[in-house]
Structures are given as C-alpha cells and as structure tokens.
Amino acid sequence: MNLQIALLLGQDGITNGAIYALLALSILLVFTVTRILLIPLGEFVTFGALTMATIQSGKPVLFVWLLLALTLVDAALDIRQQVGQRFDMARLRMTAIKIGYAVLMVVIANTVPLADIPMAFQALLTLCLLVPLGPLMYRLFFQPLADAHSLVLLIVSIAVHVAMVGVGLLLFGPEGARTLPFSDTGLHLGPVMLKSQTIWVILVSVLLIVTLFVTFERTLYGKALRATAVNRVGARLLGISPVFAGKATFALAALIGVSSGILIAPITTLYFDSGFIISLKGFVGAIIGGLISYPVAAVGAVAVGLIEAFSMFWASTYKEIIVFTLIIPFLLWRSMTSHHVEDDE
C-alpha cells in the first residue's frame, strides 16, 4: 500500500465515519432521553436515500400516502383522547395543522414536476416528507409504552424496524438506487483529489453536530431534553413532558437519519434493507462511547469508518466481521470499568 492509496482509503473511511458519527449521536440522544434503542434509525437513512432517488427518477413518491395515513391515525388518536374532556381549542388547531401539512405534501408530491426542480429543493422536500415520520413513530408505537420496561421498548423497536423494512420494499421496490452527486468538481490537495461528495458529507456532518451542540448547550428546549435524560421525574415536575421530549428526540433522530441518507446516496447504492447494517455501525460507535459520552461515541464512530475502509483493502470479505468484532473488547472493557449507575440521582 502506498501513500496515495492510504489517503484514498482514509478519505472513504472518514466520509463513512462522519455518517456513523451522526448516527451514533442520534442513537445516544434517543436512548438517554427515552430509554429506547432506536433500531429503525437505519430505515430513516434508506428512506431518505431512496425517496431522493425516486424524486430524481421522476417516479411517483408513494411515501407521501404513508405520511398521510399515519397522520390521520395520529389525529384520530388525538381526537379520541379529547372526547370526554373539556375541548381544548389549541390542541384541536394543532391536529388540523398536522392534517393540513400532510395534505399539502400529497398535493406537492403529485403536482410538481419533482425531477426538474433544483437538487437543493429535492433534498428539502425529502426532509419535509420524512422528518415528521419520527414524531409520528414515537406517538403511535412508543408513547403508549412510556412507562414500560426497557426490554419491552427494545422488542417494540425491533418490531418497528422489521415493519419499516417491509414498508420500504413496498414503497421503493427491491432495486437499489443511487442519486446524482451534489456537485461534480473535486478539490486537488497535493497528491490526492478530495471527492466533492466527501467534502459535502464532512461539511454537513460538522454543521449538524455543531447545531446539535448549540441546541443542547444554549437553548432551554435543548436543556429540557438533557434534563429529561438526567432525571425523568425531576423533568416531569417542571412540566417538561416525556411526550414532548420523546417527539422532539425522534424528530432530531429522523432529521439526522434522513440527512445521512441524502448525503450518502450519491456514493453508495442503497437497498430497502440496507439500513440495519448502517445503523449497527453507528451503534458500535455509541457502544464505544458507553451509551453515555457523545464525544467518545463520535470519535469511535469515525474510527469504525476508518477501520472499515482499511479492512476493505486488506481483507475485503471480512470487512463487516472485523468491524463488529471490534465491539467485543469494548464491551469487555466497559463491563470491567463501569460501575452500576443508580436510577435515582
């Protein structure tokens, strides 16, 4: 292996590592705030990539009907909850807005010639379509179980993942898809050429991570989510509702997952069932961070990307095995160094 190849592999590794880092952060975020291990995170990635590909190929965007259907179920549940209580105009208006939004999306998806609009708008539309799926998923599958045992939450999480893979097959078909690159030009840096998509991935990842950091450190809403993660009862006593926290973290996870999908769609062919293996790698990063530390998880995830790229060169058949075996020494090390954390305080 010469320097040139090493630099190329390093570039690939960092590109994938940045995506894994984003996923590791969302897994951590959702886990600490809601105790849910978000297995379906990978489906947000594939749905994002495949929706973008559908839009670019000019085929009908079937997902929008799923969005409408789930929104209607959500609205029905909201209204059923209201029956028998005093009518709350603000809540009713909120329900109306949600239905209006879903209908608007249906109209846009079926009337605008989506393949011809600029790529930035295609990406924006993909986000507008898919991010609401996060809070909807929380509302429909997890909110009724908020007080359940973590194991129950894990089982439901796996079930939702399996269902989403099935829905993915139905909506996007069995073929893999790739999208057009965001831009064509690369950047020459000495002996290597930085691929333009690499630059995009790194820029957007850094931007997302900085935005998350600022949200959680500086805004009261972000602090409220952290507070829920630190002490659920304490947060409830201050009127920070677990439902608000759950929906907000699922929305953030959806945003990150879908963005990741849009970012890697031009460099990786994704299939309806590719999501699991991608989110597993983010999960390895999160494990390295002990499901607690955000910076360690991010660095761990980038390391996963690099190791994956280099093992592809030396032992490509064992690529996945090498990455997932990585988890074992970390689990051992974690179980030996960690002390049991008490639930209260």
Partner: protein
C-alpha cells in the same frame, strides 16, 4: 424574624380569602400501592396565601399525598386545583397552572449546572412566552446567595443544604400559586432549617400558598396557619396550627421530649 412578627401575620390571609373557594380542595382521596391502601380517604384544603402543614410519623402517607395531588400517582377521589378538577391529570398541565412540588428526593439534574437547574424551573413560563423569569432568577439569587456563588457548578457537587435551596429555588422559578414541599428540613442543620422556614413566611407574604409536609412538627406548626395530623393514611386531627401546637395529644406524640430527642438525632 422573631416570633411576634410571625404571629401577627397569622390571621390576615385566612380572613381575607375565607369566603373564596379554596385554591386546593381535596375530597375523599384514596391511593393504593397494589392492594395496600396508603391513603384511605382524606379531605384537605389550602386557601390562597395560606401555609398549611401536614405532620405525621414516618410511613403515614405524607409523600403519597403530595405525589397524588401532583398527579404523579393514580388516585381515586376528588381534587380541585385553581378551578381544574382532575382525577389523574397530566403533571405538565398542573405545573402550567401554578402547582409546584419540591419532592422528598429533590430530583435535581445532578450533571447540569446550578443555573441550568434553576432556568429549567421556568420551562413552562418560557414555553408560554413569559420572559419575566430572568427577574425571578435574580430574586432567587438574592434570596440564596450561595446558589449565585455556585451557579456554574454542577448540582451534584452541592452540599445537602445547598441542594435543598436549589430544589426550592427551582420550584420557585415556575412562580407557583401553590408550592408543596416534602420534608424540606430533612437532614439539614438547625440554622439552615430556620433560614428556609423564614423564606416560607416571605413567600406567603407574596401571596404564594404553601403545603408543607414535615417531620419537624415544632418548626412546621410555628410557621403554618392550619395543620393536619396524618396517621396511617388518615387525618387523625386538624385545626389551626396554633391550636394544634397546644393540644396535649400533639404535644405528647410530636412535640414532647421523646420527639425532641429524635429531632436532635436526625439533625
């Protein structure tokens, strides 16, 4: 503050609002843990600007009572707070309407700073678009200068007394109409206890109603307007705090020599 001062403000708030509907009205409240009933039908009222105390031995159901009023536990019976009538309401709605609880376990955000803990106390006000909470924050810092000194420290590093101040300050950040406190003097040195009780009298003067649960019956009866004695999930006695403080049964059970020893031991 001295005794006569406390005594002189005793009657006013009660007299002022005696005709109005009580801020908190609890009727026939029952709470069970599994098959064991911890509260077997209690009636309790708190009026605006009143300090009401619930005293009673360990395991009487005091914490259960506050948790049920706060909506943290499923309960049966009737609860009215500030014109909302609820069976098992959402905590968030009650907090938004001005109910605050300083729980027995304090439930601080130990890995967050003192200031963040306080700011989060105003989360519902912030959400409503009420940005006067900065003023409340300044008031709380002047009330508890220790919290100001330690505002950038993690809450987990505070001493017992400081944690208590933080828990009270955090609840006050929500500008509650009714502040409920579960054993605020637990594990505190007598000097700090006295300081905290003085703050309750101050709060009452600002129109905040207080429901105070205490094992330290002596201090609680001194500051309160009205008192209930909870024993085995039921109110054994209730009446104006000054009357109860002179009642022979209360003196024997809660204010006598034996209990004074206990108090000293626990502090």
């Amino acid at each position: 503050m001295n005794m006569s001062n406390t005594a002189s403000i005793h009657e006013e708030p009660v007299a002022m609002t005696a005709s109005a509907a009580p801020l908190l009205d609890v009727k026939g409240l029952r709470v069970a843990y599994g098959k064991v009933e911890a509260l077997t039908g209690v009636d309790l009222q708190v009026r605006e600007g009143q300090i009401v105390t619930v005293i009673g031995p360990n395991g009487a159901g005091k914490t259960t009572l506050l948790s049920a009023i706060m909506g943290l536990l499923p309960s049966r019976g009737d609860i009215h707070f500030d014109d909302i009538h609820y069976i098992s309401p959402e905590v968030e709605i009650l907090v938004g309407r001005g109910l605050g609880l300083v729980p027995e376990k304090r439930e601080l955000f130990s890995t967050m700073t003192v200031e963040d803990n306080l700011l989060l106390g105003a989360f519902q006000r912030y959400r409503r678009g009420d940005d006067s909470f900065e003023i409340t924050l300044a008031e709380i810092y002047s009330l508890f200068p220790r919290l100001w000194e330690r505002r950038h420290q993690q809450a987990g590093t505070l001493s017992g007394g400081e944690r208590q101040m933080l828990a009270i300050g955090r609840a006050m950040m929500g500008k509650p109409k009714l502040l409920m406190l579960d054993e605020p003097s637990l594990g505190l040195a007598p000097l700090i206890t006295r300081e905290i009780f003085r703050i309750f009298a101050d709060l009452r003067r600002q129109g905040v109603a207080i429901l105070l649960v205490e094992q330290n019956a002596r201090a609680a009866l001194k500051v309160a307007d009205y008192a209930y004695v909870l024993e085995g999930g039921q109110f054994a006695m209730h009446g104006p705090a000054a009357d109860l403080a002179n009642d022979s049964r209360v003196i024997d059970a809660y204010l006598g020599l034996a209990s004074k020893h206990q108090e000293l031991l626990s502090s």
